[in-house]
Assembly symmetry: C2
Homo-oligomer: 374 residues x 2
């Protein structure tokens, strides 16, 4: 996939915290400081991760070809790769097409772009939103790919967001970091963190031609509506990733409250969301709230066992540290048959709260991953 951007497009991003980050991630990290972008190249099938000097050379070759195709500086080219880790990427296979792609570039090809970056995804992921900055209407479009190796810090594989707003790169970066923390960093499919995770947010500034005065400070009150829309688009894409998790049949929101802090609540939420025993119970439509108790207990965060309460949807299954006397298993079993589940856990310690999103762990996850590479 090749994306051509307005010259001097502002760019912000959040990259994987993995210590074995891929060569494209290294490149993006070093270029983000310029805050300027003109082109984005993404390949799927090979992550160009753990590929040593060859990997760096592959990025260099890709960047050179993209800069030629886009007629821009090399430092304004951003790259991302997704797929198998550890096999050398052969950029010769695709760089020769970049010039031709640039000639046929089309501002309506969003779905083609979303399809081009898929690996084990079963459908393309797109989201769009409209916002106002003062009197100017602004568009935000996003595409993402997910499927496996999805866990926070950060949670997605790749997501690219584009807006025509005129917003300075430092402001864009603050928005991107803050909203990533509430969206892509709150999802988990399997607790595994990719070497290639990349979110990039591009603001072309084209709306300036329609009268939008540039935004250069995060305190600018005109930013509010834009931020709300951007949050909604990022949340939508992050939920699409969970719903298309490898083998996923259920989408589960886990709400934790009563924790020592919001951070502690998130820790408990992820302990539940990443527990294989909890996730297999979801797959089996078993209202096995005992495993949720276990996952709270192993999180390492403070929880008051004898004040713990658990709900499946509106059904309170446990309260005061034991099964709710009014709970009937048949209710829980019926609730678990749904495709979208809400689990709420109240841990009785403080006022911290968080929501994380995950999916179930099914036979198909095993099938997909026991022979993904071969």
């Amino acid at each position: 996939m090749l994306v051509l951007l307005e010259p001097e497009t502002a760019v912000a991003g959040v990259l994987t915290q993995s210590t074995t980050a891929s060569a494209p991630v290294d490149w993006c990290r070093s270029q983000l400081s310029t805050g300027k972008a003109a082109a984005l190249v993404v390949n799927s099938g090979n992550a160009n991760a753990f590929t040593g000097l060859k990997g760096r050379n592959a990025v260099q070759m890709t960047v050179e070809a993209a800069a030629r195709a886009a007629g821009c500086e090399e430092s304004h080219v951003f790259v991302a790769s997704t797929g198998v880790i550890g096999e050398p990427l052969e950029p010769e296979k695709f760089v020769k097409y970049l010039g031709g792609l640039a000639e046929v570039a089309d501002d309506k090809a969003w779905e083609d772009a979303a399809r081009a970056i898929m690996t084990t995804d079963t459908y393309p992921k797109l989201s769009t939103g409209l916002a106002q900055i003062a009197d100017t209407e602004i568009v935000i479009n996003g595409i993402a790919k997910g499927a496996g190796m999805i866990a926070p810090n950060m949670a997605t594989m790749l997501a690219f967001l584009f807006t025509d707003a005129a917003i300075a790169a430092p402001v864009l970066q603050e928005l991107c970091s803050e909203l990533t923390d509430k969206t892509f960093n709150c999802i988990s499919i399997d607790g595994d963190t990719s070497t290639s995770d990349t979110i990039l947010l591009f603001a072309t500034g084209r709306a300036a031609a329609r009268g939008q005065l540039p935004i250069t400070s995060t305190d600018d009150p005109r930013l509010s509506g834009f931020k709300t829309t951007l949050h909604r688009v990022m949340l939508d894409l992050s939920h699409q990733i969970v719903k298309d998790g490898e083998g996923a049949q259920k989408f589960v929101a886990i709400h934790v409250d009563g924790a020592a802090s919001d951070k502690a609540a998130r820790g408990i939420g992820f302990s539940i969301a990443n527990s294989p025993l909890v996730k297999t119970a979801f797959a089996g439509e078993d209202p096995n709230w005992g495993r949720i108790v276990m996952a709270v207990g192993k999180s390492g965060e403070a929880a008051h066992r004898d004040q713990l309460a658990i709900w499946f949807g509106d059904i309170r299954v446990a309260v005061g540290g034991e099964v709710d006397p009014n709970y009937e298993e048949v209710q829980g079993a019926q609730y678990m048959k749904g495709r979208e589940l809400d689990v709420r856990v109240s841990v009785g310690v403080g006022a911290g709260a968080a929501t994380v999103w995950t999916c179930d762990l099914t036979h198909d996850y095993i099938s997909i991953n026991a022979d993904y590479r071969s």
Copy 2:
């Protein structure tokens, strides 16, 4: 299962660090300080965890009945329960049999005892060892149960070790804690931590009648051979638990060296051992070392990406941050067909090293856990 011990048997133990620990664990924690035991009662099928006041009453009723049956003080009775979490335990179902069990107690019934504590285990787990303390021959026997919800801190569900040595409780406790850390705390099946994990080590002191002078200090040089044997018995039992992990088809030792510290090496080891993507690759017999790179990267521990090296058995698959130029996939694929695998990862930072043991993640794990309760 009822075990009758010599009066004044010394006892030591390590209990789950879960904040939602079961009622039997609470009881054992409060009684361990006395250092004395005369009886042990274990039931399987119900964990008596998250059962509130009812759970505490069930423990009390069990302890009273066992004390009557054994003719000992209540504070010298130890209890453990394993099975479903969150359902009230009805001790009426088994306490009436304790008197009869005490009458037929038999010092050869080790295998029956090991069978009695099984849940989803497919075979009973026993281990035995002989040691010398000065001129006296000492026996160490152990039984354990595992199967699922197995992760460190601590790693087993239940393990009980018995020796006729005369060793004071504080010395026993130090041995138990130190060796648990090298054995049961170095295994993981699914990264989930039980509410019920219990290791108890009993020393009846019967060897004193054969001339063994009591050991009252950890500095006693006579302890060395005993400790070696105890370590071997505990390691054997912990490996049996991994080999019988739910759905497990492969036993995998993960050796990490070159880490910043031993603790960091263990963190990297568990990041690999608990990764669903690594474990499904083992299940698929796929030498997918890229996923090991991913798991090193997500561990949060220091690793030098460009000096990372990985071996499957004696086959070096990666070196210097990329695939080994001499590695051929057919070698790796052949190696992965084995039932016992050794993975070695060298992360190029320091001198820290650790070994952890795990199993693969198969379709059977999903089947067992999607409908274990129903």
